[in-house]
């Protein structure tokens, strides 16, 4: 039972061990790792590679690990045992390994603690690794196929949904400021119409600006720049948002709001976006584009443009 005793002291060190390796980047340990890798199972290999450059591997297998860590399966227990043994000398490793299957049932309690430690370590490293994996994946060749499960996220980014939400909030502020009794259906219709119009305008803007966006750090991750979506789909999406949005405003609220919405879309896509390349006066056009949604909220409530 000496193996059980010698496994409990490094229990706490097991977590530290990974951190130390990461921070100091000790490279002479790789050969020991590699030896163990050949003898152990798949999950051990990926865990060892954890500390080196296979970060793509890491994200997938970390998820694997953290999923399997919950049911305390034997397959997960053994990597941790092996990892602790590395703290000690190589001879000890050779002695312990034949005995390890016997010790697994005995030291399950200690295992659970180690599992928790490992899991927390794994999770923190997972997030770091995920970021690096994303950056690495960005530099690979990707198929230009429409991924249906990513589609909502892609469309959200295409329509700049956070900006749209802010525009809708300004329109509803305009609606609230109007000196008329609050009408819920009118309010909801106006907000929805404004939101759809804004989505359409943003999509068309992104459609126009593909090569310009790819040169700027801020915008180079847009869906059209990355090729996740085809320009045709972007235009269709814009049309399918814009037309119902404007009709909703015209028929559901009042024609003046619909006209303002259409004018705003035109101003943003056909005046602001081309003008960006030509002169700095486009900033003022952009200011007008931003100021129209509150006016739209006001006209939706009152039905006309006279002041209070």
């Amino acid at each position: 039972m000496s193996a059980a005793r010698c496994c409990s002291p490094p229990r706490a060190l097991a977590g530290l061990f990974v951190w130390r390796l990461k921070s100091t980047g000790v490279w002479q340990i790789p050969c020991q790792f590699v030896q163990l890798c050949h003898t152990a199972n798949d999950r051990l290999i990926t865990f060892q590679y954890f500390n080196f450059l296979r970060r793509m591997y890491v994200t997938q297998c970390n998820k694997d690990l953290s999923q399997r860590a919950k049911p305390k399966s034997n397959s997960v227990a053994s990597p941790f045992r092996e990892l602790q043994q590395l703290e000690q000398e190589k001879k000890v490793i050779h002695k312990i390994r034949p005995v390890s299957p016997v010790h697994l049932p005995l030291s399950e309690a200690s295992m659970s603690n180690e599992l928790r430690e490992m899991k927390s370590v794994a999770q923190t490293e997972d997030s770091v690794a995920a970021v690096r994996a994303e950056a690495k994946g960005d530099r690979q060749w990707k198929e230009m196929k429409l991924q249906l499960d990513d589609l909502p996220g892609i469309l959200a980014r295409l329509s700049k949904i956070k900006l749209t939400a802010l525009v809708v909030s300004t329109a509803s502020a305009g609606f609230a400021m109007a000196p008329v009794p609050f009408d819920l259906t009118c309010f909801l219709l106006a907000s929805l119409g404004t939101g759809l119009a804004s989505c359409a305008a943003n999509s068309i803007n992104q459609f126009f600006e593909v090569p310009f966006d790819s040169n700027m750090n801020r915008t180079k991750n847009r869906p059209l720049v990355r090729g996740q979506i085809s320009p045709l789909l972007a235009v269709c999406f814009a049309a399918s948002c814009g037309v119902p949005g404007i009709t909703l405003l015209t028929l559901g609220v009042n024609p003046l709001t619909g006209a303002l919405g259409a004018f705003n879309i035109f101003l943003y896509t056909c005046c602001y976006t081309p003008m960006k390349r030509m002169s700095i006066a486009n900033t003022w056009v952009g200011a007008v584009v931003g100021a129209i949604p509150p006016v739209m909220g006001w006209t939706a409530a009152t039905g006309s443009l006279d002041a209070g």
């Binding site: 530099r139 060749w141 198929e143 230009m144 090569p211 790819s214 040169n215 081309p274």
Partner: protein, 145 residues
């Protein structure tokens, strides 16, 4: 990209032009319309790549020259004592940007016009191709049903 793939493949951004190159898939039974679309896209990609690579190179070069000349005028070196690259503040850079933009205004306008024209043609052709494919699929369905 693998040989058996039936889609276009898009790659990482180019070093100079920051545009992503696309490898187009040529289907065996390509209609003339589809061929026109593919060729237009290839041509557009080549034009864009040429323009942006040249433009970005010129921009970086002129920016370096400008910083160097300004720093020399101020009496500083390119890198100060700590080894950090000396940069100018935003106001001085604004002079450079304005100068660069006004020098290249006509070129930019020309590219802009071309880009819009190409974009619209490509999208319109894509629409036509999609429509043709949909009609073909419907006809095939009717035949089989």
């Amino acid at each position: 990209p693998p040989a058996h793939s039936r889609y276009d493949w898009i790659g990482p951004p180019d070093k100079h032009s920051n545009l992503r190159p696309v490898i187009f898939y040529v289907p065996p039974e390509e209609s003339p319309l589809e061929r026109r679309l593919r060729e237009t896209r290839q041509e557009a990609q080549a034009c864009d790549q040429r323009f942006w690579a040249r433009h970005n190179r010129a921009f970086c070069q002129e920016k370096e020259e400008f910083i160097y000349s300004r720093l020399k005028a101020k009496g500083l070196e390119m890198r100060d004592e700590t080894g950090q690259k000396a940069t100018l503040n935003a106001e001085e850079m604004a002079d450079f940007y304005k100068d660069f933009l006004s020098k290249n205004f006509r070129k930019h306008m020309q590219y802009n016009r071309d880009w819009y024209k190409r974009n619209f043609t490509i999208t319109f052709l894509m629409g036509q191709v999609a429509l043709a494919r949909a009609l073909r699929w419907l006809r095939w369905k009717k035949k089989n049903v």
